[in-house]
Symmetry: C2
Subunit: 346 residues, 2 copies
């Protein structure tokens, strides 16, 4: 039903090649240009990207695969990624893994079959097997926020271990000694943050009893449940470190519902500030990642990879442009969002 290039030919008498050239920004005689513009608008012609993609073998589209689309963290990332991509003339195909490795693998295949030019993924899986179809198809992949256990990949993230380690100073400097942690242990990122926590405690010469170590899923209800348990302990901690947004959210809920007050009864240090610190009372201390910059860097790196892989196919070899073929890990810095959720234990 929609108009094709041939309808335009019928209307203008020009050849498909000329029309195609015009559509792709080539030069045509002024009179022809006018004819073409007229025909295109009269026929409501729109390029069939499917057909174009088939021949050019590129779609000007990148796939973005996130572990959960309803996570505010991912929503924020997606916003920035989308903006960066749009400004560079790329479209974005978003897929939701729904926290499920199988769905993730399936979605990745979907993206590959859709012939996206590249893929950005915030993975749920912790090993690289699911990326195989992309590799086989020669589609560049850039990870964000989480890297994988078994292999190094292009990745944009923060130094999670270090960020956690440093953030712990806030608690330690305020003389806290009984510090608990609620962390996710399903992904690399969560584990790194946990390590940072442990190192800080060890360096401070403080013990971390088993009941202070809540390691589980990356989910609000896990944070909620864990905080509840911590508050019911006879030997209650004076402070709790929560290592991601969902967990922080859940923990805040638990405290709100309890009879304990923050920071009077319990001090809190969270991770990934997304409006939470602005809505919740008291204002939370939080480790914050530069989400916009991370997104932009990821897009930049991906597009570079796409560029490179095309050159390789074309056989071009600009000798003085030896971009590294090795995986690159871009490590961004973090900052601390100040609040008043930490009490000084004089």
């Amino acid at each position: 039903m929609p108009a094709t290039i041939r309808d335009i030919r019928a209307r203008t008498g020009l050849s498909v090649a000329t029309i195609s050239k015009y559509l792709n920004g080539g030069n045509v005689l002024p009179e022809n240009r006018v004819k073409l513009q007229a025909a295109i608008s009269e026929l409501h012609y729109e390029v069939n990207e499917i057909a174009r993609g088939l021949v050019t073998n590129k779609t000007k589209t990148v796939g973005v695969l996130v572990y959960s689309i309803e996570s505010l963290f991912n929503g924020t990332l997606l916003k920035y990624i989308g903006e960066a991509l749009r400004s560079l003339g790329y479209g974005m195909l978003i897929c939701d893994s729904s926290e499920d490795e199988e769905v993730e693998a399936q979605s990745l295949r979907f993206l590959v079959n859709k012939k996206v030019d590249g893929i950005i993924v915030v993975p749920v899986a912790d090993h690289s097997a699911f990326l195989k179809p992309a590799r086989d198809a020669g589609i560049p992949v850039v990870l964000m926020d989480r890297s994988l256990m078994d292999e190094e990949h292009d990745c944009v993230k923060i130094d999670n271990r270090m960020a956690a380690f440093r953030a712990m100073r806030l608690l330690l400097d305020n003389r806290h000694e009984k510090i608990a942690v609620i962390c996710s242990q399903v992904e690399y990122t969560g584990i790194q943050r946990y390590k940072g926590f442990l190192e800080a405690m060890e360096q401070a010469g403080l013990p971390v009893p088993a009941e202070y170590r809540k390691c589980g899923r990356h989910a609000m209800d896990f944070g909620y449940q864990s905080m509840k348990e911590l508050l019911e302990l006879n030997n209650r901690p004076t402070a709790v470190f929560m290592t991601n947004y969902e967990i922080t959210l859940g923990a805040v809920m638990a405290v709100k519902e309890s009879s304990f007050r923050c920071p009077e009864d319990i001090s809190m240090l969270g991770f990934d500030d997304l409006i939470l610190s602005k809505v919740v009372d008291p204002k939370m201390y939080m480790v914050v990642q530069p989400m916009r910059e991370m997104s932009e860097k990821a897009v930049e790196l991906l597009l570079e990879r796409i560029e490179n892989s095309r050159e390789k196919k074309t056989g071009e070899k600009k000798f003085n442009e030896k971009k590294s073929e090795m995986p690159v890990e871009i490590i961004m810095g973090t900052r601390i969002q100040e609040g008043n959720s930490i009490r000084f234990l004089g």
Copy 2:
């Protein structure tokens, strides 16, 4: 680089037609089936959806265009839409309008050019002009949450006016008389809710002074700013009705930062409960929409439309299946999330 159907032919000696048939679930001789399975897995063959789409003229993909991807409301919708779609064998192409009508129009065209089979949109524009490319291309569109001013479209939403009107009972029954409203006036939905508010007030015989009517953008900072202004009024309202999630969020922030307490000094009634009522103290009274059901209905309706439009093209006419060609508006019910953010004014 990726394997094609022809590589499989070379490996199996079968014709492309047979291979294609197999790929699409057709019957082949058992021995051939075995050969094909082997070849496919050895070559890591994956169907090229681009090529397939070119000939079948369908992509098994629906586009979803939301006004802002970082809005939790949309994130939640997207999650449910994605699940419904996946369960029906459809992929989802998400675009973010970034609250910008131009981006929206451009994204819609992007989706059309990508030849999605149908489009679900939670629009930022309030008139239907931007949908024209989809109509021209014969691509069905289903709106969600917001309908358009100038024309009726297939749409899944709640009765916003009525929901607001009814929710106001909560305030009125608690003897509130000085009630302010913070609402969005940019989209149809916001306006309807505002009307519902006004009607409730009028019916109760209560005046609404100009300074109690905060009509503006659908944004957290607007809610924040407006609430601040309301709290500074000499003639402070005793209750405030906030007509969407972002505004509610902002308003909650403003109250938190002020010296006023909810519900002691100010009662609050919000809209669209997304975790907010679980994190914030006091627990908010809120109007909640059945987001999962709305998403499922939207998908169902869209797929029905897609089905129908194909039949029309094929010329099929099953006489006893006269689905309406008229726009359908599906109106879902709402419920009230109880809380303790409303004070009884004895």
